[in-house]
């Protein structure tokens, strides 16, 4: 089936909250290398809040899942990641809302809309050591998976793999955006915290999707 299961999405977000909570200290630590050391708190708190809201709201349509996640970011503590993830999920949710029963194509397009929104809001291009360096390859891989006829699990798996590669590559980049650009070193040698949280998110999604597929 090429449709998207709302309950699965809710489980994916719950697992993201779980995985990011476990990595929060590490994310803050690498943010402190050249930023203000709060990234792990910012993202883990927002995903935990989103997960709680979803448990309460029991959304009926895939778009609602991501619109709710977006609100957790935009109503929460903010920071760069708050704005960017908030805008990302709002864009993804809006794209999914266009279809009564959205399929993988809509999802891939939603990821791309989110990724473009991040680039536009943050005024960044690839290679500037931001979360966009993980989001963009992820959305490209998702689209390619759809083009090749892959189902949702294939899409998520391909996105996760691409996000991880994108995030790893940021370690070699010189920061040109965000607070990290003020560091003399440009934080070379450390992964960008935002890119790493994107890759951890897709990995958490893949974990759930694979379980779903196995069963």
């Amino acid at each position: 089936m090429n449709g998207i299961d709302t309950k699965l999405l809710v489980a994916m977000i719950a697992n993201t909250a779980f995985r990011l909570a476990a990595s929060a200290d590490e994310l803050s630590r690498i943010d402190a290398v050249a930023g203000d050391g709060d990234h792990g708190v910012n993202v883990s708190v927002a995903f935990a809040d989103a997960s709680a809201r979803l448990a309460e709201a029991r959304p009926a349509h895939p778009s609602d899942v991501f619109l709710i996640v977006g609100r957790s970011f935009s109503e929460g503590g903010g920071g760069s990641a708050g704005a960017l993830f908030g805008a990302y999920f709002a864009a993804l949710g809006k794209r999914l809302a266009l279809a009564a029963d959205p399929e993988v194509g809509s999802f891939a397009e939603g990821l791309e809309a989110g990724s473009l929104r991040v680039a536009g809001l943050g005024r960044v291009a690839l290679g500037e050591k931001t979360m966009f360096d993980a989001l963009e390859p992820a959305s490209r891989a998702a689209r390619d998976a759809v083009t090749a006829g892959g189902n949702f699990a294939v899409l998520v798996g391909a996105a996760a793999e691409a996000a991880a590669r994108g995030a790893a590559a940021t370690a070699g980049m010189v920061a040109k955006a965000g607070r990290a650009r003020y560091a003399e070193s440009g934080a070379v040698g450390t992964q960008d915290p935002g890119a790493l949280s994107v890759s951890l998110m897709f990995a958490a999604w893949e974990e759930v999707v694979m379980k779903g597929t196995d069963q």
């Binding site: 803050s28 630590r29 402190a32 050249a34 203000d36 050391g37 709060d38 708190v41 910012n42 609100r71 970011f73 935009s74 109503e75 929460g76 503590g77 903010g78 920071g79 760069s80 990641a81 708050g82 704005a83 960017l84 908030g86 805008a87 809001l121 943050g122 955006a177 965000g178 607070r179 003020y182 560091a183 003399e184």
Partner: protein, 338 residues
Amino acid sequence: MIMRTRWMFNDRKNIVEEMLDGYIAAHSNLIALSNGLVVRASRKPEGRVGLVVANGTGHEPAMIGWVGPGLLDVNVPGPIFSSPGPAQIIAGIKEADRGAGVLLLVSSHAGDIMNATLAREEAVSAGLQVAMAILYDDIASAPSDRAEDRRGGPGLFFVWKIVGALAERGANLAECSEMARRVRDSTRSISGAMGTVVHPVSGQALGNADGTHLAVGMGVHGEPGTVVDDGLLADDVCEMLIDRLVEDAELTAGARVALMVNNSGSLTLMELSILYRGASAALKARGIGVSRSWMGSYATTLDQAGFALAISRLDDELLELYDAPARSGGFWMGEANS
């Protein structure tokens, strides 16, 4: 010179909320709390432009201390060092709207700009009239040919004060926005720090100064600076920093400026006064007149042992707005100031 590891807090989770409670209780004749927003105790009259700032906390008295007549209408406080999200900023815009539009004054930091941008987009599509001005002053954060990449620092207080006076008098939204950019473009700041600060919630130490040296150009969240020669005395440091500010602003003999000597947190007023003396002497030596001045804590980084020097070019119109009365938790200017 101190060493300190103990804070005076209750639960770390509630620091910002309890600070707002206490600060507002101490200034209840001037300001009030409205759903987490710092607002004036008596709102501005209808038909005036509303001024909103949204920012992380940890910089007190900025910005909770700048709400009041002659200054800002609403401050949307975020977590420590972290911009509030768009939803709260939209609430702040609505609160400030008195039918003549709202100017969102944004200190240039990635998170602040992006959250404000999202809030403005949404407010505008909900039919509100909202302009946004991105403000910066810190010359250490980018070269002058990339001024728009610079960050906001303590010198932004010049913008709050002057646009605050203008909006109070009934200038329209375009005039207020234009003035915000004009003051921004004639303001420059640079900082010096002699220690690091610790984030009260995360416990992370920020900044690259270890307390024994002076780092020039550190940002208001501990963004790294450059350590200078330990032999430099206060007067040498003033000479060096004023030289950079004057050159960057392309000021020449005969110019008039307002001078700010800002305490980043735990500098003594003794040191601040000695820096004021050095900075005004360095300006005078270049034929630049200090027409007005401010010395004290304007924007802090918790208890950072440091300071910033800021200058802003003045002309007769700005002087008059500078001297206009203002009243807030952290600032006042009476009718007859000069």
